[in-house]
């Protein structure tokens, strides 16, 4: 790879395949993600979007293919190593620390990001930056009045908001968001879109979302998956008018 090409993309996958038994959830996917762009990933249910994201973040085992981050091959690296290398994500099925308070949830994410080998004799409460970061994100996701509440007793929508917060705190270079807006209320959703737009400044975002208004509005580029493969990709307008996409996913009226 020449230096000029390197700058062109941060994340690249080559011929990715994920299979479960005989069933291939993702096949033949190659893509190059350029720095600073927001990618929308859409496709019917079960098309393999989440699985692709799992493959990129190290949660799914590849039966074929390779993944590169900043031209470093990360195919064999476990999820935490990818996070350190600058790849953060949120989950479609909420993954939070239910028994802990909302603030502790965020503090943990901040802790994981800030220090890899903190001295163990210092109480975690004493690290100022960690608390500050957690506090800041708590505001951003609009849960400031729930800081001391245990995360498991939040309502579904508020848990979804926390899910986004956790992903943000690792301040990744590449951020993968799996249906961050699902279940998030109407009012918060608007704020959340704003938030996503803001955090996408200066980083690469891959966003899975079924809310077409949002996807079409904020994506720089849209990727459509069908049956484990990439069906089409391009700008919102081209995608919207692509007949294959309409029959497979969008439906006729819009």
């Amino acid at each position: 790879m020449s230096g000029a090409e390197q700058a062109k993309h941060v994340l690249r996958c080559e011929d990715i395949e994920v299979s479960y038994g005989a069933f291939k959830a993702v096949t033949n996917v190659s893509y190059e993600f350029k720095p600073g762009l927001l990618y929308g990933l859409i496709g019917p249910n079960g098309a393999g979007k989440t699985t692709l994201m799992n493959a990129l973040s190290g949660r799914a085992q590849l039966s074929n293919g390779r993944v590169f981050l900043n031209e470093q091959e990360i195919t064999k690296q476990p999820p935490h190593a990818r996070t350190w290398a600058g790849l953060g994500r949120s989950f479609q099925i909420t993954q939070i620390f239910s028994e802990m308070t909302v603030f502790e949830n965020l503090r943990l994410a901040a802790q994981a990001h800030h220090f890899r080998l903190q001295p163990f004799w210092r109480p975690v409460g004493k690290f100022r930056e960690i608390a500050n970061d957690a506090e800041r994100v708590l505001q951003e996701i609009g849960l400031e009045s729930f800081g001391h509440i245990s995360a498991g007793s939040l309502s579904h929508g508020d848990q979804r908001a926390l899910e986004i917060g956790l992903a943000l705190l690792s301040e990744p270079q590449v951020l993968l968001l799996d249906e961050p807006l699902a279940g998030v209320g109407h009012d918060v959703a608007e704020k959340a879109v704003e938030l996503i737009r803001r955090v996408s400044q200066g980083r690469t975002v891959l966003l899975i979302e079924h809310n077409m208004d949002v996807v079409m509005e904020i994506s720089d580029e849209i990727i459509v998956m069908l049956a484990g493969e990439i069906l089409a990709s391009g700008e919102a307008e081209t995608i919207k008018s692509d007949p294959r996409v309409r029959t497979a996913y969008l439906g006729e009226e819009e």
């Binding site: 989440t50 799992n54 949660r59 989950f91 479609q92 099925i93 993954q95």
Partner: protein, 285 residues
């Protein structure tokens, strides 16, 4: 050749010991440490019934029934309040059961060993491949196979099995479908207790009936259940036969290494197939 027959019978016996455990483990997600005690209770009950009636089969039938009632009571009184708690608390609870049941057996039957013999019909030995194989061993093979088939159909093929498996994951949701989950749970636990006792009754003619007999089988049963995959009847049968065969071969070539071999087998399995030999894994994200 006769080693294989004996290995088969050892395996089936292991399966009978473990069947109740895998049921309760797999279906209720309850780690029933008192399984061994119920097994012992079964043996003592069978002894008592045989002693009174003189009929082996009466013991084999009555012991599980009585133990099932005991199991139902245990479930109603003690287990019900702790389902929603961290599973590890069941360790404390069922450990308490061990002590209570053992004490009860001690009070009821005293400290002396008890004995049971195979029924007249099965008391001889049959010449086979140049050895004399006790007929009771052959009976165990057949009986184990029958029990495993019955259990398999009940759990994997019938609607009860479906309900039980669903309730093990999300009892509330099963309730919304109009199904009485607590009844199902009591039924499963009681059935599992009965199976444990059946194992004890069937093992009675082969081993000394003594206090502490339950303690020895617990680890064996857990190994069968884990290698087979939690709550997986087919897996449990396979695992039991695998261990039975390993042991039989071990006894014929290096008896002092038999326990060692069993654990090596277990460790190997868990390293190669972390979720047990015969189970499938769901997704995490």
């Amino acid at each position: 050749m006769s080693t294989i027959v004996i290995g088969l019978s050892m395996g089936m016996l292991l399966f009978l010991l473990a069947a109740g455990l895998t049921l309760i483990f797999g279906m209720l997600r309850v780690i029933n440490f008192a399984h061994g005690s119920l097994y012992m209770l079964g043996a003592y009950l069978a002894f008592q019934v045989v002693n009174v009636t003189g009929i082996f089969w009466a013991g084999l039938i009555a012991a599980p029934i009585i133990a099932a009632v005991v199991g139902a009571l245990m479930e109603r009184i003690a287990l019900r309040p702790v389902y929603n708690r961290d599973h590890v608390y069941q360790l404390l609870l069922t450990f308490g059961f061990i002590l209570v049941i053992d004490e009860a057996v001690r009070i009821l039957w005293g400290l002396e060993y008890k004995q049971m013999y195979p029924p007249e019909l099965l008391s001889g030995a049959i010449e086979m491949f140049g050895s004399s194989v006790p007929s009771y061993r052959l009976f165990i093979i057949g009986f184990g196979a029958a029990v495993s088939a019955a259990l398999f159909f009940m759990l994997d093929r019938s609607r009860y099995g479906m309900i039980i498996r669903a309730a093990s994951g999300d009892p509330e949701m099963v309730r919304t479908l109009g199904i009485n989950v607590s009844l199902v749970r009591t039924g499963v636990f009681s059935f599992g207790a009965g199976l444990a006792a059946l194992g004890g009754a069937a093992a009675g003619p082969l081993f000394p009936i003594e206090l502490g007999m339950g303690f020895n089988i617990i680890i064996d049963s857990f190994i069968v259940v884990i290698i087979g995959g939690l709550g997986n009847i087919r897996g449990a049968v396979m695992a039991a036969l695998l261990i039975g065969m390993t042991r039989a071969l071990g006894y014929s070539y290096a008896p002092s290494w038999v326990d060692f071999l069993t654990f090596i087998l277990l460790i190997g399995t868990l390293i190669l197939r972390p979720e047990g030999l015969f189970s499938r894994k769901g997704r995490t994200a």
